[in-house]
């Protein structure tokens, strides 16, 4: 990528709409010494081929720019910062290829153009295969098999059933990898293709999570009221997948969704 390609060509509206905010902390630590970008975040997009996960591959053309951190608008970048941006993009691209810190929705939109019918499934197939090999997932084989089955069903039942959304599957993976003590859940799809998992042991032990993307979830809990166990508390809400288990902790969800301590106290 040349510096000229990076910013001086004034990316058109399509490219701008594809800009992806990157890891600003990494940028601040490793690249930026300019103060005028204090309120801006480095962004990157690419043209060309991507792998099944939507990551740019060697040969992809990378684009860098800055965005206001508090708004969607892009800002012009002065010529002296071109070199710096190039360094930022080059450094952050390598991080981006290893980590999943960007919006999966946007990453999906960056996938190379293919036919409308096979693009999601090609990406999903690759993701399902990666699940089967993911050492962080205790139930990787079973989960991979289940997701493959859900893809198969969505093919059969389209258009009533949307295929699993890539971002949602990624959210599921990130959640299960971070919560390895959980039992294998019921895994289903919502009509729109989000993955929804559920742990249920009766009307007062129910915990469901819908992965809206690779960051956000909606959750439902039916549990014995912490203060009055003869009553059932019912809670629903939205959270990040990183904090949902903390939010539901008062309802002792782990008592029935985790492998350990499967019985009620006194049983």
């Amino acid at each position: 990528m040349s510096a000229g390609e990076t910013v001086a060509t004034s990316p058109d509206a399509t490219i701008i709409s594809r800009l992806i905010p990157l890891d600003y902390d990494y940028y601040r630590r490793n690249v930026s010494t300019h103060s005028h970008e204090a309120s801006m975040v480095p962004c990157m997009s690419y043209r060309g081929s991507g792998d099944s996960l939507g990551h740019p591959q060697p040969g992809s053309a990378l684009w860098g720019d800055f965005r206001q951190s508090d708004g969607p608008s892009t800002a012009p970048v002065e010529a002296e910062t071109i070199k710096e941006i190039s360094a930022a993009v080059a450094g952050i691209a390598s991080i981006w290829c290893r980590e999943s810190k960007t919006s999966d929705y946007l990453r999906q939109s960056l996938s190379p153009p293919t036919t409308a019918t096979n693009r999601p499934e090609e990406s999903l197939s690759g993701l399902v295969e990666s699940i089967r090999r993911d050492p962080r997932l205790r139930f990787r084989e079973r989960l991979g098999t289940r997701l493959a089955r859900l893809i198969e069903i969505s093919r059969e039942e389209q258009p009533e059933q949307a295929p699993p959304a890539l971002a949602s599957v990624r959210g599921l993976i990130a959640f299960l990898a971070a919560n390895q003590g959980l039992k294998y859940p019921t895994v289903v799809l919502t009509p729109d293709g989000n993955v929804r998992v559920e742990w249920r042991q009766g009307r007062d032990r129910h915990f469901a999570i819908e992965f809206l993307n690779d960051i956000d979830v909606r959750f439902v809990v039916f549990a014995s009221d912490p203060k009055r166990p003869y009553k059932v508390a019912r809670v629903a809400g939205q959270a990040s997948l990183d904090s949902v288990m903390t939010l539901v902790a008062p309802y002792r969800v782990r008592d029935w969704s985790a492998e350990q301590d499967e019985k009620r106290p006194g049983e």
Partner: protein, 142 residues
């Protein structure tokens, strides 16, 4: 007539796609989630199709759904619910004593088409409560 409330003593059937059932074919709350921008949940009013003959009712539902071009998957099920039991359960157990409305929404090629209204807010919580009231399920393909 369009907009009429379905009697609490009657029954409705909901097509549950295979991807919304658990691995053993049991109904989950996902079967009762709205799609984006959907105003109500589509079901079929069984007593309109036949009075006390479940087989004839289900045959009518299958015919109507197929007639509309809907894909009845090999693993999909038809979940049958009592209107009154469902509404009582939701009113009793939801945080806001939700009074769901079940209204006749006939379509030219689906005269028993009916809608469950007022699922929002907390539609996912309400969907999980509705799933608790499913009485029985049948293969969608018959």
């Amino acid at each position: 007539m369009k907009g009429d409330a379905i009697p609490d003593g009657d029954h409705i059937a909901r097509l549950c796609g295979g991807a919304r059932l658990d691995e053993d074919g049991h109904v989950t709350g996902a079967c009762f989630l709205l799609r984006a921008k959907e105003e109500y949940l589509s079901v079929n009013w069984l007593e309109l199709l036949a009075r006390n003959d479940r087989a004839a009712q289900l045959a009518g539902v299958r015919q109507a759904l197929s007639g509309k071009g809907m894909m009845l998957g090999s693993s999909a099920r038809l979940a049958v619910l009592s209107v009154g039991e469902m509404r009582d359960h939701i009113r009793r157990e939801s945080r806001d004593a939700r009074a769901l409305r079940v209204r006749h929404e006939p379509e030219p090629n689906d005269p028993s088409h009916t809608g469950i209204f007022d699922l929002e807010p907390d539609a996912d919580l309400i969907a999980d409560l509705i799933a608790e009231t499913v009485r029985e399920t049948f293969p969608a393909r018959g």
